[in-house]
Subunit: 392 residues, 2 copies
């Protein structure tokens, strides 16, 4: 893996979370990067989400640094706005940046005041520890109930040289991103204009973060930030933009998939493919309805080829389709043809469904060209255990 | 409890479900009753739902008998339409009714062919066993994963005499009724016109079955049937219609609450009250979003006063409101005031949340007059255990 040029990283334990595990991270671009971001559509938005949006607007999309903490969402807090601003100011002063070029980002428990001293006191040692090698440490520091860090890398070899993309993300519960997920940071060293970045981010999110769900809950802190600092010195030719976008989208898609795979309590990763819907949005709605059905998710947990639940869930998506023209496959095995039971060996399919990767394909016969892929995980007793006790 | 006059009931084991427990039931009104019904809005609809709707239309809302089976939903089945029709024909012949005055109803596994012989062979002994005492037996025969039968009774004392209402329902999983729930039958002996019944049913469903959710899944078989046979001889005076409607609505509300209380794996019954929303529909959307949040439901299971999850869930309802003007109470204790943490004893509230009945109140300060009550249950490991193995 080749990291994008021109970015440095650092992490530390600032005492925000109770367990002594790095909880504060800093990403700095040597030259301020063009940036595009998407934020949660939850009506309740955390202070860093509000400040990040306003900073991006004020700086005309230039970002020099991102300060991220885990263990406290800084949401529904009395001092939230002031804390987020004080954090950015302290980082800006140390890094000699305009404060609007610093984006704050928080994840963790909602409704608990975040002590700004913990962050401000830790920032000098973060800044002095900045290094190009710190990428993986940041991916670990932003984890909450995540079991594994989530990173993805891509490269596009253009006429004038290679450009690199690297991304990291976190998230395991409260996951049904609408335009973004809990936290995601994608860096590239390509030279891209803000308008190009925004368009790539918008299209990419639609195919990645907006196509996963763990539990149907949308967080208050969802943020996905795409940075392009141009440190490669390579400005893609007009005909090469699609290659760069493919690398960025690929990276985002793999990050999103890792979130679904690491869903709280999940033992299985589930890919849902819907084809033949009236349009792509309708296909995505049907796929999401299947992915969000607790009855489908528990059937997958139990390796139960219970296609009736899949058909019923699709029927609740608000999309007009003819069940009698609907085929369903699980692990490649036809279980439902034309809305009716297909002959299959239940015992054999049960064994195939014991795999860590499961696939559900729902195809509507006819003229519809709409299709969508969606990723989720099974629903196990582990999800209950984690969320009946862990305070998020 | 006084049952409505003029209805008789019978049940038997017809071999449809594997466990030897009554799975076939018959409700007969001595004189055909005026009827109103609501059915599932799932795009995938079971054969009995389709036939029931068409019979009610053809008979102009007259119903003489209802044939109900548990253990097989007769949905997504090759022979479904023919089986439902054959069942109605056999019952009509035995009861000397026009076939369109018989409504079929099924609940159970989806996608398995239902053998009509089992029902047709059992019908003669059902008919000969009809009795006014069979009400409770029917309520038990229609159960699937239900742990308890669900019934409710009401009476209205009118000028010309009393009229009685009795209802029964079933349902425990795949419960987020949209206009109706899995199966519900409400009988009254009042003399009511079809148009009056339809209006009462529509308004009543909005306040009862459409205000509960166990897992956010809407079934393919949801049916709620309201029968009024006039056997009391009492036609309510115009000024008394509201009293009769109150009795019917009360009955439906208590039936719906029993479904939420008996949610699969549930240990707690949760009442959610939202006030101060822009209108009642907006309040209901917010209450439903809270009720459907797995993070809220698991927090209740763990007696965790995690109000941040409640606020976040409300923020996902697609309703415009100001979090800074939002107060939340759990078990009467203020946990969030103006969108911020309120001071409360966490240990004491945890103990209060151990109760079998929990209440969440979310109030938006301001001019909004919209309010809604909604009922759900907690989400426990029991839900997973039931649904990772039981084939519904």
């Amino acid at each position: 893996m080749n990291l994008p040029l021109g970015y440095v990283y650092a992490t530390t334990y600032a005492g925000i979370r109770q367990v002594e595990k790095d909880d504060l991270a800093l990403i700095v671009s040597g030259m301020p990067a063009n940036a595009a971001a998407v934020f949660t559509q939850n009506r309740v938005q955390a202070a860093p989400v509000r400040l990040g949006r306003s900073h991006l607007k004020a700086s005309k999309g230039l970002v020099g640094a991102v300060v991220i903490n885990a263990g406290n969402a800084n949401c529904a807090t009395r001092t939230g706005d002031a804390v987020a601003l004080a954090t950015c100011k302290a980082a800006a002063r140390l890094l000699r940046l305009p404060v609007t070029q610093v984006v704050p980002s928080s994840t963790g428990v909602i409704g608990v005041e975040l002590d700004p001293r913990k962050i401000i006191d830790a920032l000098p040692r973060l800044v002095s520890g900045l290094s190009a090698d710190g990428f993986d440490a940041v991916a670990r520091a932003i984890m909450t109930t995540d079991l594994v860090p989530k990173t993805a890398f891509a490269e596009a070899r253009l006429r004038r040289g290679a450009v690199r993309v690297a991304g990291m993300t976190k998230g395991s519960g409260m996951i049904q991103p609408m335009m973004a997920t809990t936290l995601g940071f994608v860096m590239t060293d390509a030279l891209l204009l803000p308008a190009q970045l925004r368009a790539m981010l918008k299209r990419g999110v639609e195919r990645s973060y907006n196509r996963i769900s763990v539990d149907g809950d949308t967080s208050t802190n969802d943020t996905l930030l795409l940075l392009a600092n141009g440190a490669s010195g390579v400005r893609p030719l007009p005909g090469e933009l699609a290659m760069v976008e493919a690398a960025i989208t690929d990276c985002m898609e793999r990050l999103a998939q890792q979130i679904a795979r690491d869903g709280e309590g999940a033992r299985k990763f589930v890919t849902i493919v819907v084809t033949g819907a009236p349009d792509n949005q309708a296909a995505a709605r049907m796929a999401r309805a299947i992915a969000n059905s607790p009855l489908v998710k528990t059937a997958i947990a139990g390796s139960d080829p219970n296609w009736g639940r899949i058909l019923s869930a699709a029927g609740n998506a608000g999309v007009a389709f003819d069940p009698a023209k609907t085929d369903i496959r699980m692990q490649g095995v036809a279980v439902c043809q034309g809305g009716l039971a297909a002959p299959f060996s239940e015992q054999e399919l049960k064994t195939r469904l014991d795999a860590a990767d499961c696939e559900i394909r729902l195809a509507i016969r006819g003229k519809g060209k709409g299709e969508a892929r969606f990723w989720t995980c099974d629903l196990t007793e582990g999800y209950i255990r984690i969320n009946a006790s862990y305070r998020t």
